[in-house]
């Protein structure tokens, strides 16, 4: 309809559009452009067309205006219809669903496109032309206003009365536009509906251009950087960025290797030092290439023993370069790493940990960390050569001096020395624990992270290892880390260490409880990460397996409700751990079946709604879990017998039946695992005798169109008053 604004008058009357025709064609359709409120599509197009014509008038406005008018306003003209027909045929040929043409800000194309659209679709419905017109114009319009993303959400009521978010014609180029824009500007949230790309979408010209453009930008950046490096005379500080052709590298490796090997063979004559140093540095740079460092070429050139020898060179700069080379060789495959070890690289590297040059120390730490990280055997080799003492000294010195770079590296190397199974010997562990305890007090995230990882590796073992960790007094500090650094990368290893300790002796468990683990777990069990929720449940299950007092701590904790909730609604892995919590609690009863206090625990669980999710666990495809749950349910029903003995009624039987427990048990009689069906049968016989054949469908009954959720919702008949709800929602 008339879409009047300031510039309207200037353009003359040609720009007015037949609103009646438009609104008819769109029916009740509504659209939203770029998140604007939904509006009548007919109205939207009027405004858009006006704007397009106005902008189209930039160059040769008279002719374009007239033509636009003819095309748009006289759909009954013969020439126009002929064009429509021609277009129909054309589109049929090219597949009307794939129109990846850009209309942005190109009124000529938009008009051309409109010219060529069919007025009615195959079923005789209005739509194709008019919708495509709308979309193309909306896009063009949005492009003019520098809107970075166009999101058109469309709902339409078809003439035959259907109401549905539309896909199909028009949607494709709209999405093209979306994606092209997104490259530059990601800020706009889009409606999920229209992000749904056609299942079998093929190549898109605009996407491809976007890629090419991006590539060009990267090339330019590299070229620019290269030019700047020259101007800044950075050449000798910088490591080369671009990998030259490999063949050239290999041949020059042999040349440089000859210099280095000769130098070593001749016991390092002073006059050759500069050349040998230069060659080593050159080799180091090659080994530092991000892509395809020529490790094998360097090994084959026989350079590893030479580098090992040069570690003993009096000049620390030479030691540094050699250590760097060995570091990068050790960073390769296990085979490559082994070459460094088999040529006796480890002892001199450890020796240099007490070098006065901090650069050399750092480099050797790095090399040793790589070697130790390769496998437990390599790790033990490094340990046997006395790395721990020197490393501990280095850590204490760098921590004292605040040399964070070397310190981080050293702690990382230390964590690698503690990692893997079989675990390193207790003696090595004992010698590093005091240092780790001190590191926990530093405020450097990376140091903390690797320290926690080291502790988690150590504590991931038998009670003796756990006791070592507990006696090192790290538990309170770990708890502080967990409390204060709730969301960073130290959280996982700190929590894991504490959970590991919980698996230890009752004493160890108690230490962690005293430090307040039960206060931090509520946060963890609600984490968005399934892994964290799982570990939280695992931790609780270990407390629940503890002394009677420890079990009662769990019973009193609000965590218990969370556990039941996890058991009911979570990933299988989390549910499994939650099941262990419940099973451990109930186990306390089955190991003491006359203890009313223990039986009351079962009662608490029933009140928290544990039965339905427990029964649900019987259906999982995991025999061990099914067994565990059968035992737990057995204890639970047993506890019910004890509690109900005075009244002669087991109070848990009804909730068990309501949760379809009997049905489940009956199903399990068919189970292929003998133990499981025996258990199921014995439970059925013990508690349910001959009954239990009821088949009650708890799903809402759909057949008669009635639904009731939450049981006692008031009837809707006659109009329920929301304002009268007992809870004040305002």
């Amino acid at each position: 309809m008339l879409q009047s604004d300031a510039s309207w008058g200037r353009m003359g009357a040609n720009t007015v559009i037949s609103s009646y025709y438009k609104t008819e064609a769109f029916g009740d359709a509504k659209i939203s452009i770029n998140g604007s409120p939904f509006q009548d599509a007919g109205m939207a197009i009027s405004g858009l067309v006006a704007d397009i014509i106005r902008s189209g008038g930039k160059g040769d406005k008279n002719t374009r205006d007239d033509r636009a008018h003819d095309v748009l306003f006289d759909p009954n003209k013969q020439s126009f219809l002929a064009h429509v027909r021609k277009y129909l045929e054309h589109k049929k040929k090219v597949g009307a669903n794939k129109m990846s043409i850009s209309y942005e800000g190109d009124p000529e194309r938009a008009l051309k496109f409109i010219e060529s659209l069919p007025e009615k679709d195959e079923k005789g419905n209005n739509g194709h032309r008019i919708w495509a017109m709308l979309y193309s114009l909306a896009i063009a319009k949005a492009a003019q206003s520098q809107s970075p993303v166009v999101v058109i959400r469309r709902c339409i009521k078809d003439p035959d009365g259907k109401y549905f978010p539309k896909y199909g014609l028009g949607q494709d180029f709209e999405m093209d536009f979306l994606e092209r824009r997104r490259n530059l500007d990601e800020t706009h949230a889009t409606m999920p509906m229209f992000e749904r790309k056609a299942v079998k979408a093929g190549l898109d010209k605009d996407d491809c251009r976007k890629n090419r453009n991006q590539q060009k930008v990267e090339l330019r950046k590299a070229k620019k950087e290269e030019g700047l490096m020259k101007r800044r005379n950075m050449a000798d500080v910088c490591v080369e960025i671009e990998a030259p052709v490999e063949v050239e590298v290999a041949s020059s490796i042999s040349q440089q290797a000859a210099i280095v090997l000769g130098f070593v063979q001749r016991n390092g004559p002073a006059e050759e030092f500069d050349d040998a140093f230069g060659a080593t540095k050159w080799l180091r740079k090659k080994l530092s290439l991000a892509r395809n460092p020529p490790i094998d070429d360097v090994i084959q050139a026989g350079l590893v023993p030479a580098f090992v020898t040069m570690l003993a060179h009096p000049e620390s700069t030479m030691q540094f370069e050699a250590a760097w080379c060995l570091t990068n060789i050790a960073s390769g495959t296990s085979k490559q790493c082994e070459v460094v070890v088999s040529h006796g690289g480890v002892p001199p590297l450890i020796g240099l940990l007490s070098s006065p040059s901090i650069d050399v120390c750092e480099q050797c730490v790095w090399a040793l960390g790589n070697i130790a990280g390769d496998c437990p055997a390599m790790r033990d080799l490094v340990l046997q050569n006395g790395a721990t003492d020197k490393l501990v000294k280095l850590i204490e010195a760098t921590a004292l001096m605040g040399q964070m770079g070397p310190l981080r590296n050293a702690v990382w190397a230390l964590s690698n020395l503690m990692r893997g199974k079989p675990q390193p010997s207790a003696a090595h562990v004992t010698s590093v624990l005091p240092t780790l305890a001190k590191l926990l007090l530093l405020h450097d995230e990376e140091v903390l992270m690797d320290t926690c990882w080291a502790l988690s590796y150590i504590s991931d073992g038998g009670d003796d290892r756990i006791d070592l960790v507990v006696h090192a007094g790290v538990v309170p500090a770990l708890m502080t880390v967990l409390r204060e650094k709730a969301e960073n990368k130290t959280r996982t290893p700190a929590l894991r260490t504490l959970c590991n300790i919980l698996t230890g002796s009752h004493m160890a468990t108690q230490v962690v409880i005293d430090a307040g683990i039960l206060e931090v777990l509520p946060e963890a069990i609600k984490s968005t990460k399934a892994q964290t929720r799982k570990e939280a449940c695992w931790a609780i299950s270990n407390v629940a397996a503890g002394t009677s007092d420890q079990v009662d701590l769990v019973m009193r904790s609000p965590l218990l409700a969370n556990v039941v909730d996890r058991l009911a609604n979570d990933d299988f892995e989390v549910r499994k751990e939650a099941a262990w919590v419940i099973a451990n609690i109930l186990h306390s009863f089955s190991s003491d079946p006359t203890n009313t206090h223990c039986a009351m625990r079962a009662s608490t669980l029933v009140q928290l709604g544990a039965i339905p999710p427990m029964v649900a666990m019987l259906s999982v495809n995991d025999a061990a879990m099914q067994k565990l749950m059968l035992e737990a349910l057995g204890s639970l029903l047993g506890a019910g017998e004890l509690l109900g003995a005075s009244k002669g009624v087991n109070p848990f039987l009804v909730p068990f039946d309501e949760a379809e427990g009997i049905d489940k048990l009956e199903t399990l009689q068919e189970h292929s695992n003998e133990e499981i069906y025996q258990k199921a049968i014995s439970l059925l016989e013990k508690y349910f005798g001959e009954e239990g054949d009821e088949d009650e469908n708890l799903l809402p009954n759909v057949a008669n169109g009635g639904f009731a959720f939450g049981g006692n919702a008031p009837a809707v008949v006659g109009g329920f008053n929301f304002g009268a709800s007992p809870i004040d929602v305002m």
């Binding site: 008339l2 609103s19 609104t23 409120p37 939904f38 206003s145 101007r231 919702a713 008053n721 929602v729």
Partner: protein, 874 residues
């Protein structure tokens, strides 16, 4: 106008005859300008007058509404202000008239009235005016015995809810909900009323958040919506399912209690739709529900939305996937277009695969095995599509056992001419998906079967036919297009080996180039996007071709040039012809660009021809072609270096045009990049053009209408110019430096990561500009020219250092900033060092350098080391 009957004027304004239409339009415009209240009053009276023609009543309503609303924000404001400026009494008269029309027995009259009410409500309610509106509409729906009035009042409520800021209606949410629920409940005998109720509910969902928090109320809403899915009337069912989709999107966390029912409902609807075509729209919405659930659970997994995930998809997929697979067998016979039940189901399946990863595999394999060899092509196609749909999401490990037999099956389906076309099409698409996501599973023998060159003996008898994919490039355009996608994906995989002496594409290069070039020449290449796909695949093959193919790439260049030449001789009689020509020119320019980029100086002998053609292409009015041609010219400049000078006089006008095209900002952006290419190519010889270039760049910077993302590259471009003309930049110093200082003062909401990202780009651009200027001046010993601007540069460094602790300052900015510290020290020497080594400057400079040295990015670390060396150590 006075008491004029407005009906005839409205009709005249719709006339096809300009002589009739134009005066009427002018009359309406004049009325609008001179006395808006009167015009609106007339329109409202027309709308509400039951004796008038329905046509004019509706026209009047629409015009009335259009006087109150608009799309662009400024127009909206203007119109809202105009309405609010009308006296309350006059407005009251208009509103009363329109409200009266709500009860009209004419459907379109009362519908239009509802729209007008909606529009007025949207303006007045936020201003605390018309407080009785919602109550009135609600009363209409509950108290009135008039079904027309009920229906249109619900519609009006829906319109208001849809467009208004939810906060405005929140206080009246109870009232609205009560009305809406009463309208949509199953006891409502009038189906039109009920439908209006369901739709109003969909619109209202967003602002009833508080009600949705209360279990009792939520239960009622859910109960009523679920009951509506069981209505008789198709439209109500579809609307109800759509409502459920919106609920899933808005209130995922509240779904667990309702999931058993929703599960049963949606699956039943899907099953019904598969069996009964008339239920298709209901079925599509039911599928959309699950696709939305997938979206939600993926968002939670990616931590884009708060958790926890209820894993509905994982739990429900057992039956769901089976039903989707059956729905996928309901393909449209004729064409693979449109969003049918089958394609909705396939989309959903692909989303499920992305959501549950490995777990989906076991659910589709039996179907695939049972149907892939079916005699009914529908089932074979569905099995093929099912496999292709689950290729992204599950791990290699989970798919691996089926990968080889599946690939071989796909190859055999594509290679067998008797396979039904839709199946060949989908099988080729599936091969493309394998190429994209699982290249490692493709064994050498498969490469051979797919891509070997055919061989004949000396007598010409066939020894071995050519590979399946090469043959399929000659198949139906639908199949050939998918093969192009596959080849594109294959070529894309070797990106990392692009600069190697040789790579996996080397042996195939000539074969692929020949086959794809032949494909572009097919007479039917215009269908199904085939020509575009073939050229794009060729471009990717060239882009990632290794060094040992350069000779062959070089041989392509004359061919591509002659093809581009040929486009100017294409006969143009229709606009379709013009479109085809433009498209082809764009594709060929792109191919020229990638070849030139690959060959570098080796392409220089062809530069004359290429430039000549590109300049002709610029005559086209199409923006994307301009982008392609500009990119090609940029590559030519890089390839030719200083020799590019001779093209500058001819290219300059088009470059200026591109730089001035702020409306099509992508063109502008590309043109800015090309300026950089030219600066690096011409160096000092670019001087004569700099006045104009600098002028245009500055003008762009000042233009608020230019997309902001283009602005950082402009700043960086000043650096390119300065590096090229070195001391010659002196004359632009004052104006450009003040721009940099202005740009440095930009602040953004640091809570918004997108804006922070933009801020970083902007700052990087500023630093690059400073660096270019400093290094350029240094080359000609003009360092003192910069001294007045030193403090401005330092200030930005300080600000960036302040942003380090909050993670506002990204690594690339640190890199650029520490580089600038070095440049300042290197260029300005003592005057800078004196300042830098005194407080307060030394603190933040050293802090930033320290931060730079600890960067995980090697280049940043190196730059920081270099800078601290020359700024602080001597």
């Amino acid at each position: 106008m006075g008491d004029t009957d407005i009906g005839p004027i409205l009709l005249a304004a719709q006339s096809a005859d300009p002589a009739v239409r134009q005066p009427a339009e002018q009359q309406l415009e004049a009325a609008k300008a001179s006395n808006l209240p009167l015009l609106l009053n007339l329109l409202a009276r027309e709308l509400s007058n039951e004796v008038k023609e329905l046509t004019t009543r509706q026209l009047a309503g629409v015009l009335l509404k259009n006087c109150l609303t608009a799309k662009s924000a400024d127009l909206v404001q203007q119109r809202q202000a105009a309405w609010l400026a009308i006296s309350p009494a006059e407005r009251h008269t208009i509103k009363t008239a329109v409200l009266g029309a709500l009860a009209s027995p004419q459907q379109s009259a009362r519908h239009t009235a509802a729209q007008v009410i909606g529009a007025i409500g949207v303006i007045e309610l936020p201003h605390a005016q018309w407080p009785e509106l919602i109550q009135g509409l609600a009363d209409n729906t509950t108290a009135s015995g008039n079904d027309f009035l009920k229906q249109s009042s619900l519609e009006a409520l829906g319109f208001v809810c849809e467009e208004i800021d939810p906060a405005v209606l929140e206080p009246q949410a109870n009232l609205i909900l009560t009305a809406v629920v009463s309208g949509m409940r199953k006891e409502e005998p009038n189906m039109d009323v009920r439908l209006a109720g369901v739709r109003a509910m969909t619109n209202a969902l967003e602002f009833v958040e508080k009600n949705f928090e209360v279990e009792v109320e939520r239960n009622i809403i859910m109960q009523t919506v679920c009951e509506a899915t069981q209505a008789e009337k198709q439209e109500i069912k579809v609307a109800a399912y759509e409502c459920i989709v919106v609920i899933a999107e808005l209130y995922y966390d509240k779904l667990p209690a309702y999931m058993p029912a929703l599960y049963q409902l949606t699956l039943a609807a899907l099953q019904k739709a598969t069996a009964d075509e008339s239920e298709e729209d209901v079925g599509k919405q039911a599928i959309e529900f699950w696709t939305t659930i997938c979206d939600k659970e993926m968002e939670i997994e990616d931590e884009e939305a708060p958790g926890p995930s209820h894993n509905f998809v994982k739990q429900g997929m057992g039956q769901l996937v089976g039903l989707l697979l059956e729905a996928m067998c309901k393909q449209d016979e004729d064409e693979d277009g449109g969003f049918t039940l089958a394609s909705a189901a396939a989309t959903c399946l692909a989303q499920i695969a992305l959501t549950v990863h490995d777990d989906v595999v076991g659910h589709v394999i039996p179907f695939i095995q049972a149907n892939i060899d079916s005699a009914d092509w529908h089932r074979t196609e569905a099995a093929t599509l099912a496999w292709g749909s689950v290729l992204e999401g599950p791990s290699d490990l989970a798919l691996q056992p089926f990968m080889v037999p599946a690939l071989e099956k796909m190859i055999s389906l594509v290679g067998t001419p008797t396979t039904a076309l839709p199946v060949r099409d989908t099988a080729a698409w599936t091969i493309a998906r394998i190429c994209e996501h699982h290249t490692a599973s493709i064994q050498p023998q498969h490469w051979h079967v797919m891509l070997r060159e055919g061989s004949v003996d000396p007598s010409g008898a066939l020894i071995e036919p050519e590979g399946v994919l090469l043959m399929a490039l000659k198949d139906h355009t639908r199949v050939a297009e998918k093969v192009c996608t596959a080849l594109y994906a294959l070529a894309e995989q070797v990106e990392d080996e692009r600069n190697n002496p040789s790579n996996r594409l080397s042996g195939l290069f000539v074969t692929l180039a020949k086959a794809l070039l032949a494909c572009t020449e097919r007479h039917d290449a215009g269908e199904n996007n085939l020509r575009v796909s073939a050229y794009e695949a060729l471009n990717m093959v060239i882009t990632n071709a290794a060094k040992d193919t350069h000779v062959s790439v070089g041989q392509l260049l004359p061919l591509v040039i002659s093809r581009l030449e040929g486009t100017f001789a294409m006969p143009i009689v229709s606009s379709d012809d013009r479109e085809a020509q433009t498209e082809l020119q764009g594709l060929l320019c792109a191919t020229l660009q990638v070849i030139t980029q690959k060959l570098g100086p080796q392409a220089a002998p062809h530069a004359d021809q290429m430039m000549n053609l590109c300049l002709q292409v610029f005559a086209s009015r199409n923006s994307s072609v301009h982008e392609e041609a500009l990119l090609a010219v940029g590559s030519v400049a890089t390839a030719t270096g200083r020799a590019f000078e001779k093209y500058m006089p001819h290219f300059r006008p088009f470059l200026s045009l591109g730089l001035s095209n702020y409306e099509e900002f992508m063109v502008c952006n590309v043109a800015i990049g090309v300026v950089g290419d030219i600066c690096r190519a011409l160096e000092k010889q670019v001087m004569p053009y700099c006045d104009e270039l600098v002028h245009l760049l500055l003008r762009n910077l000042q233009n608020p209408a230019l997309n902001r993302n283009v602005k950082p590259p402009i700043l960086s471009c000043f650096g390119d110019i300065a590096l090229a003309i070195e001391g010659g930049f002196e004359k632009y110093m004052q104006v450009t430096m003040s721009m940099l200082v202005q740009a440095s003062q930009t602040t953004v909401d640091t809570e918004n990561p997108d804006l922070v990202e933009y801020l970083n780009q902007l700052r990087e651009g500023i630093f690059e500009a400073y660096t270019g200027v400093l290094q350029g001046l240094r080359a000609e010993n003009k360092a003192t020219v910069f001294e007045p601007y030193m403090m401005g540069a330092l200030e930005l460094i300080r600000v960036c250092n302040d942003g380090v602790p909050q993670n506002v300052t990204g690594d690339s900015v640190v890199h650029a900033a520490v580089g600038l510290i070095g440049d300042l020290a290197q260029t300005l020497g003592e005057p800078f060092k004196r300042v830098a080594r005194s407080s307060p400057h030394k603190e933040y400079l050293k802090a930033l350098l320290k931060h730079g040295k600890e960067s995980p990015n090697k280049e940043t670390g190196e730059a920081a080391k270099w800078a601290s060396q020359i700024a602080f150590k001597d």
